[in-house]
Structures are given as structure tokens and as C-alpha cells.
Symmetry: C2
Subunit: 162 residues, 2 copies
């Protein structure tokens, strides 16, 4: 079992493919979203902390079990975006997502962050994602109807850090 | 008086400085926001339509009187972001902002766009900006408390295109 202290924070060259494989394996993301997930890892490799993307990796047995990516939202003082969080289907249900999220929040708080924002779809297949944020004490900050496409709303979840 | 047909849509090299000067002259944007406004123009020059940024320029007498920048929001089918809209202080009050916005909406509709999103601050000095969107039939889609900083909420205005 991965504990918070065991999450890897350094991005390696092979994380580009590992994140692409993991994001695709979840079945939650479109091909263009999977490509963007991998691009953020590439940008971190190329630009380092100046990329604005911080990562947490949960290494599994010969693959990535899960990862999260967060960063300060440009033009804000202390608001952070949870850009990505994903857990491999074979690892889901064991609390890894919650531990990744809590470790993101701990690090964001340590950086002076006052709020965390996470966006997801309102489609039926994302109900477990929305319940996940609610269980982790996120509030529904906004729902934008048909944002991603017809019948595909955008939910914005918010957690204020005390 | 500039009419919709007179707005220039091609970005020129000198627009980088012109947009920077205009954004700064309004007094509405922070230095980092002014820098970002100019960066979007540079990205349009470098990458063309692939940048995802479309521009409308209202050329005045030896300067830019106003401009707007919009584009399809990545990972959406037909939602557009109004990234920037600004009118020179000496030109404000003559309806140029409204004409720029209406021409953006006309072009977005022609591209198959179904929604326009515009973000602004909840601070007192932006009350005229918020009233502008309301007068132009935008709804308040969300308010994120303390998003930009303490006491500086983010308003998201939304207009559904029929």
C-alpha cells in the first residue's frame, strides 16, 4: 500500500508514456484529453517548476498505479487547479485516489494555497468521479450546461483550505 | 465610427505592442495580465489559426481603439472563451465594446459555437465590466469566492447562442 510519503514527485522521461497509458486505461478520458495529460508531463520535463505543473506519482508493479497533477492557477494569488487525478482500474477502490488528493491538498496548503479547483463532466459515466469529490469534502462551485458538448455539462468542484 | 465590417481580423507584428499599450491604458489589468494579453497576440503570429486565438481589432487614429480575442475552449465541441475584450479609455462609452462583443458572437455562431464564456473580477472597480456583460445579455454562471486573491472573486459570465 502506497502511503503519502511514498509518492514520487520527480518526473522521469518514462512518465510521459506511463501517464498516457494510465489515462487511457481508466476509460474516462477522450483521446484528445489523454494527449493533453501526456503533454503536461512533457512540459514539466522541458520547463521544470516554471511549467506550473506539480506531480505526484504512485508507482506500482511495473506500471503507474495512479498520479495527480496540480498547480497554481495563472493570475491568481493562491488558487490551485487539480489538473489531473487518475487511478488504474485494477487499483481502484483501495483509497489510492483519496490519498493522492489529500497529499495534493497538504502540499498546496504548505505552498500557501487557499483553494483547490477540479473540473469534471456531468455525464452519467462520471458519477463516480463526482461522488469522489463530494466524499472528499468538495463543494459544487458551478455547473455549466452543455459545456463540453450537447448534454455534457462541466462541474467545477471547489475546496477551500482553512 | 467603427462598424462590424470594419473590424480588422488579421494580426500584424505591431499588434503585440498595440495590445500591450491598450490593455495597460485601460487600468483594468495587472502587469502580469497585460503581459499575457500581449503573449496571446505573439502566439497568434507564431502559430496562426492553430494557436486557437481569433482576434478583432478596432483601429483608431494612430492607435488601437479596442480589440477582442476569443477561441474554442480546448476539449469542448462548441464552447468559446472570450479571452480578452478591451476598449481605450478615450473611446469608452460610445458602444465600441458592445459592437466588438456582438461581432465576436456573430463569428462564434457562424463557427457553430453554442456558448460564450467570459471571466472577470468581482472587485468594486470591475462593476462596469460586470454591468457590461449583463447589459449584453450574459448570465452569471458562477462566482468563485476569493479566486484571484482575498476579497477578489471570479465571476463567470455565460451566453448561450441559440
Amino acid at each position: 500500500m502506497t502511503t503519502a510519503a511514498e509518492f514520487r514527485t520527480e518526473t522521469r522521461l518514462d512518465d510521459v508514456a506511463a501517464v498516457r497509458d494510465l489515462a487511457a486505461a481508466t476509460g474516462y478520458f477522450s483521446p484528445s484529453e489523454v494527449a493533453i495529460a501526456a503533454e503536461l508531463v512533457e512540459e514539466r520535463l522541458q520547463r521544470g517548476p516554471a511549467s506550473g505543473y506539480e506531480f505526484l506519482y504512485a508507482d506500482g508493479d511495473g506500471r503507474l498505479d495512479g498520479y495527480a497533477c496540480y498547480g497554481l492557477i495563472p493570475c491568481t494569488l493562491s488558487s490551485y487547479d487539480l489538473y489531473w487525478i487518475a487511478v488504474h482500474p485494477d487499483t481502484q477502490g483501495a483509497g489510492l485516489g483519496r490519498r493522492l488528493l489529500q497529499e495534493c491538498e497538504r502540499r498546496i496548503r504548505a505552498l500557501g494555497g487557499t483553494g483547490v479547483y477540479a473540473e469534471t463532466s456531468g455525464k452519467a459515466q462520471y458519477v463516480s468521479t463526482r461522488r469522489f469529490y463530494e466524499r472528499c469534502d468538495y463543494a459544487t462551485g458551478a455547473v455549466f450546461a452543455d459545456f463540453y458538448g450537447p448534454g455534457d455539462d462541466k462541474y467545477v468542484f471547489v475546496k477551500r483550505l482553512g
